[in-house]
């Protein structure tokens, strides 16, 4: 993902914004949809909220307690958890989906605006890190 910025040597990191976790629904993985003021000049509030909401929905899907997750848990227990040597867990499948979604969002929406979303899994599922880039060739600030 950072390759987008390597070909433009005048790009520098201006600052980073960290979207924190929202624990109001318990310990499930959910991020706050509050729009940070640093992004006001860069991106639409609606667009940002939509991205975060989709991420929240994806994490909710990964952590959903239901028939499928119970079945996976029971099957794994019966095989002394050796089944995970050949099978991917449901959570891992959704994490791949999330990685693809973030890459897609970065390419289509965030990179053209000089922003970069970092996959929360690389920050311990604690924050969504948004890097704000500045193009020196245009002039200071934006």
């Amino acid at each position: 993902m950072l390759g987008l910025y390597r070909i433009r040597p005048n790009i520098t990191v201006s600052s980073k914004v960290f979207i924190q976790r929202d624990y109001s629904s318990g310990t499930i993985c959910k991020f706050q949809t509050k729009f940070p003021s640093e992004l006001e000049s860069r991106i639409d509030k609606q667009q940002f909220e939509e991205t975060i909401q989709t991420l929240n929905n994806l994490y909710a899907e990964a952590e959903k307690l239901g028939g499928k997750s119970y079945l996976e848990g029971c099957l794994a227990c019966l095989t002394a958890y050796t089944i995970f040597l050949c099978m991917e867990t449901h959570y891992e499948k959704v994490l791949k989906k999330i990685a693809r979604y973030i890459k897609d969002q970065n390419e289509k929406i965030y990179a053209p605006r000089g922003l970069l979303l970092t996959d929360p899994i690389e920050r311990g599922l604690r924050v969504v890190e948004i890097t704000i880039f500045e193009d020196r060739s245009i002039g200071s600030g934006r």
């Binding site: 318990g26 848990g73 029971c74 995970f84 959570y91 920050r123």
Partner: protein, 360 residues
């Protein structure tokens, strides 16, 4: 068992290693003795399936023990410098101007979960606000998500990711111990019927010792399994039980419980398999190729002293801070012998020691 953030082998960890290996050795020896001395007689005179089932159960116990010991309990990685600075700025903005000489207010965030106010505490070692149910383990020197306790017999913390393996380990060990105990008694009874009790004791030395060992192991392991079954049905952790977070006047207010025993059990034992967030950090180091004009000094993390946890009494803080050493970076190695064990707050130390006494 040993994670990048605390790679040193202090004398404390050597002791823990010994406890874990003694636990392993105890289980192996007991089963081996049963297998070699009792099973031939029982297989011939009773049923050949007896040793087969014993082997399967033993393999399951060892698999669960190794899985608990060597899996990531749900360690929360330390905040990178920029994230730590961002959080510090937010805290300062929230606190406003503190007059010189006055203690700044404790770093706490309040969050409402299911109509219950939960306090999120700031971890000075990891530089993060701990998620609900997370706690900092002083032995592993890491924040662990859904921290239950640090188990010296298993040599690892028990947390969100490996609690089910720990529970299955204690459950299967209980079953194995009951199984061996029962068939030891059956074996003695059967031999006594043929040749008299005293003759049996002469022919099979070690019977008395093994029965006694099994008997005492049984009570502690079955007791531990029972305790954890109780915790699971209420969706509580050992840590919360010890602190009395959801008991006494707070009884029935556990915001994490589904108020349904079966649902609680299903969530804890058959819930989703959470990913480890530790491995990725190894990959991350190669990725930061963007030249940064960020004014945040990169030395912040490596030179900042270990600040005592906010649980430490305020008057103890200056003395702890004075003897503090540099916070280790993930790749740094430290000499084991002279190194002071990771700074522990009295509370986390008390928690782990009480957990040990209570649980074992």
């Amino acid at each position: 068992m040993f994670f990048p953030q605390s790679c040193m082998m202090s004398s404390l960890q050597m002791r823990i290693c010994r406890k874990e290996s003694s636990c392993c050795v105890h289980i192996i020896l007991k089963t081996l003795f049963f297998f070699l001395c009792r099973c031939p007689y029982l297989a011939v005179h009773l049923c050949p399936a007896i040793p087969v089932f014993a082997v399967l159960l033993f393999l399951f116990v060892m698999a669960m023990l190794l899985r608990t010991s060597f899996s990531d309990p749900g360690v929360l990685p330390r905040a990178l410098p920029e994230e730590a600075t961002f959080i510090e700025m937010e805290i300062e903005a929230a606190n406003g101007n503190v007059p010189a000489g006055q203690r700044p207010p404790p770093r706490i965030r309040n969050v409402q979960i299911n109509n219950q106010i939960v306090k999120l505490k700031y971890c000075y070692t990891c530089k993060i606000f701990r998620p609900p149910r997370a706690s900092h383990c002083s032995i592993c020197d890491n924040c662990v998500d859904r921290f239950d306790h640090h188990c010296p017999w298993v040599g690892n913390c028990v947390g969100k990711r490996n609690y089910r393996y720990f529970y299955l380990f204690t459950l299967s060990l209980s079953l194995l111990t009951i199984y061996i105990f029962t068939f030891d008694i059956v074996h003695v009874v059967m031999r006594s019927m043929n040749g008299g009790f005293l003759n049996t004791l002469k022919e099979t030395p070690g019977t008395v010792l093994e029965v006694l060992v099994c008997f005492f192991t049984l009570w502690s392991v079955v007791g531990l399994t029972g305790f954890h079954t109780y915790l699971i049905s209420l969706n509580q952790t050992t840590n919360e039980d010890i602190k009395g977070s959801w008991s006494g006047k707070n009884r029935g207010q556990n915001p994490y419980s589904h108020k349904n025993i079966i649902k609680n059990c299903c969530e804890v034992l058959c819930g989703p398999t959470y990913p480890s967030v530790l491995d990725r950090r190894g990959l991350l180091q190669e990725d930061t190729l963007i030249s940064s004009s960020n004014p945040v000094p990169q030395t912040t993390k490596t030179t900042a002293p270990l600040i005592p946890n906010e649980h430490t009494p305020d008057d103890a803080k200056p003395s702890i801070a004075a003897s503090a050493e540099k916070s280790p970076s993930p790749k740094e190695e430290h000499p084991a012998a002279t190194k002071v064990p990771p700074l522990a707050s009295p509370e986390t130390d008390a928690e782990t020691s009480i957990a040990k006494e209570r649980a074992h």
